[in-house]
Each structure stands twice: as structure tokens, then as C-alpha cells.
Amino acid sequence: MIPRPAHLIESVLLVSARPIEPGDLASATGLPTREVQDALYELETRYSPESSGIILRNVAGGYQLATNPACAASVERFRQELRPTPLSNAAHEVLSCALYLGPLTRAAVSAARGVNSDAVVRGLLERGLLAEAGSDKGIPGSPALLAVTDEFLASAGAASREDFPSLETLVAPEELDRLRQRLNEAREREAPPAPDGV
């Protein structure tokens, strides 16, 4: 079954929390701009405040699905009841990297854990437990640095990072040396030291 243009636009709108410009809708769906416009007119009727609990908003030059303000009370009650998903072992490991070794890049988190951790990092950013805090200018592409947030501290019942036992009390010195060496090696792979005389 070939989906109709309005269906394609609708599905893309569901997976973006931010407004999407018509040009980006066109390139995602492969539709000509004209068809994108027609589909958006059609969706404005389908998702109007009179006919739906979900509305199509045109904000800041882009289009976005949002809840109908008339339904705000239900949405807020739902939010009050929302139980957080428990954190996985992997999430605990990534958080401990950010807490003890951070701010650090995604690549450094992966190097410390020994497995690609990008998906776990994305989840923790979405949950507000990690945040990007500046970037590492010493590495080509200046990748973002990750740090734990105040929300993380509050969730762990800590007033500050000093409330956690120090790294030295958790890990033996030779293991710490190995860890630092692993991180250095990973960093050098990303930012090779300049050769002499340059």
C-alpha cells in the first residue's frame, strides 16, 4: 500500500517534538513542496481544535503536533501520575562515567565502558539526567562534553558531586591508571598529537 502524502507528513510530525519547516518535510518524505502544502492544509482540518485532542500548530515557520489546550487538565493529571522507567545497568554505568570522569565526550564514555554507548547517552539526555556542557575544542569537530545535571543530583539525593564517595575509594590505583591510559588512547585516536616541528 502506497501511503498518501498527508499520511507521510503526519507520521514525520509524530516523531518530532520540535516544529518542522515545510522544506524539511519535503526532503524527508520526498514529496514536491506543492504536495506538502496541500497535505498540511488537509491536516490542519483533521487536527483542528474542534475536531481533535491533537492539534497542528504553525509556529516559528514550522509545523508541530501538540495537545489541544482544551485537554490540558487531562494531560497535566497524566503527567502527575507518570512513573519514571527504572534505569538500566548500562544507564548507571554511563552516569557513573559522567559523574566521576566528566565532563567527557560520547567517545570517552564508550572508551571507558568498552562498548558503544551512544544510544544510552541519548536516552539519558532525553531524561534530563545528562546535559551537554560545552565542547572539547582539542578534538576535530569539537564534540560535545557530557555532564550530570542538577536533576541527576536531586534524584540521587545528593547536594553536589562532593556528596559521592571519591573515585579513589572505589577503585584500586592500578585500575585507575589503566582506565586513564584507556581514555588517553581513545583521545589520541580522535586527536592525534601534532608531529614535531609543526
Binding site: V15, S16, E93, S155, V171
Partner: protein, 244 residues
């Protein structure tokens, strides 16, 4: 499935080749280390997928292209060998039977049970495939701040586990193979002319890979009836005896 291979250091040409497999994702070198430490089951490592990943991500040319390819071929060959070693049936027969032999009925029951699991898994694959195109709403609200409780003890445990994970570059164990099973087999046979041989003496100066190849060669010879393996205790010293 993602992979990447870019030029790395001269001494470790595969340093930046990473693999994403079901059983492991991360640097290829560490996968080798984990297999040697038996933290990853070689049975579960799809060797063909690794070769495909390497070929697909292999950068054209570059100053160390030949070295990189050689290194990869060497390590991949080692993996094939290790895998075939673990699949060798003779290995089991040298150890005392831990499980009593199955009666034909028990064997049939066990295979029937496995067949069902297998059919169930095929059904699940179809089901997962049919449902892989759904994407959830990105408009999800976050719970009110403070509702999540992070257990400090679990966090410390995670830190300890992560920071003391024993990972070191393992490629020293896995130099290119310089001896074939046939060469080793010929060597073992000529040494056996002088009488029984101790496996431990034979491999004393070898690295782990060559010791494994030697073991594989001795299993081949035992299988063909050229020698007998003798081991009085489980995991005890292993002696090769000339075939009677």
C-alpha cells in the same frame, strides 16, 4: 549494523575498527580479548558477519592498508581456528562424562523440545520484522523532576564495575599464524617417534594461539588414529602417546 575502520596507529592497525554484533559492540580488538578470556562465547560470534563488516568499512588505500588487511586476515583466521577447536567433538570424549549418556527417548525428547524453541524463534523473527517500522511519539512528557530515585549504592557498584573492567590491547596474543596445522601435525608425529610427549612441554614457549593450533593438530592426529591422548585427571597434564 554499524562499523568503521579508519587508519590507526602503526603498531595497531585495527585499533579503530569497531563492530556491532548481537553479543558485543565495541572495538574489534577488545572482542578478541574477551573471546580469549572466554567472556564472550566464540559459538555466538558470527565470524562471517565480522568479515562482511570489515570488507564494508575497509577504507581504500592508505599507507597502512596492507598491514591492516594482513592483521585482519591473521586475526580472523585465528578466530576460525578457535571456533573450530571448540566445535571439535574429540575434545569432549577426553573428559570424564559429566552427564550420563542420554537414552534414545531422552535424546528424542530433547531434540523435540529444541525444535519447538527453534520454530518459536522463527515465528518471533517474523513478528519482530513485521513490527519494526513503528516509531513512538516524540512528544512524550517527562515525569515530574524528582520522581526518579537513583540508588547511590547501585551507582557506586556501576562505577566499580566500569572502572575496573580488565581490558587491555590484546593483539600481542594474536600475531599472524606462522605454522599450519599440517606442519604442526608433522612435527608432533616426528617427535612421537622418541616416545610419549607432554603437551605442556610442547607448548611451553608458545603463545596462546600457537598452543591452540598445536592442540587442534593433536586432535586431528588423534581423530585419524596417529596418536592417543591421555589425561589422568580432568584439567590435569595431557600426554600424547604413539598409537599402538
Amino acid at each position: 549494523m554499524n562499523s568503521s575502520a579508519t587508519s590507526g596507529e602503526v603498531s595497531r592497525p585495527l585499533a579503530s575498527f569497531t563492530v556491532e554484533l548481537d553479543v558485543y559492540s565495541g572495538p574489534y580488538e577488545w572482542l578478541l580479548a574477551l573471546i580469549l578470556k572466554e567472556e564472550v562465547e566464540i559459538f555466538e560470534v558470527p565470524l562471517r558477519e565480522i568479515v562482511d563488516l570489515y570488507l564494508n568499512s575497509r577504507p581504500e588505500g592508505g599507507p597502512d592498508a596492507l598491514e591492516r588487511d594482513t592483521e585482519f586476515v591473521g586475526s580472523a583466521a585465528s578466530l576460525v581456528l578457535l571456533k573450530s577447536r571448540t566445535l571439535f567433538p574429540a575434545l569432549e570424549s577426553e573428559e570424564p562424562d559429566e552427564e550420563p549418556a542420554l537414552s534414545p527417548e531422552q535424546l528424542a525428547d530433547r531434540l523435540t523440545a529444541y525444535l519447538k524453541v527453534k520454530r518459536g524463534s522463527e515465528y518471533l523473527r517474523e513478528r519482530f520484522d513485521a513490527n519494526s517500522g513503528f516509531h513512538a511519539s516524540a512528544h512524550a512528557l517527562r515525569p515530574r523532576p524528582g520522581r526518579l530515585r537513583i540508588d547511590a549504592a547501585r551507582l557506586q557498584h556501576a562505577a566499580r564495575r566500569t572502572f575496573s573492567r580488565p581490558i587491555e590491547p590484546p593483539t600481542a596474543h594474536l600475531g599472524p599464524i606462522t605454522l599450519t596445522i599440517q606442519e604442526l601435525a608433522a612435527w608432533i608425529r616426528s617427535s612421537l617417534v622418541r616416545g610419549p610427549l607432554s603437551y605442556e612441554d610442547l607448548v611451553r614457549d608458545m603463545d596462546r594461539l600457537h598452543a591452540a593450533v598445536t592442540f587442534a593438530a593433536s586432535l586431528s592426529l588423534a581423530n585419524e588414529g596417529h596418536l592417543t591422548l591421555s589425561q589422568s585427571d580432568p584439567l590435569g597434564p595431557l600426554t600424547f602417546l604413539p598409537a599402538v
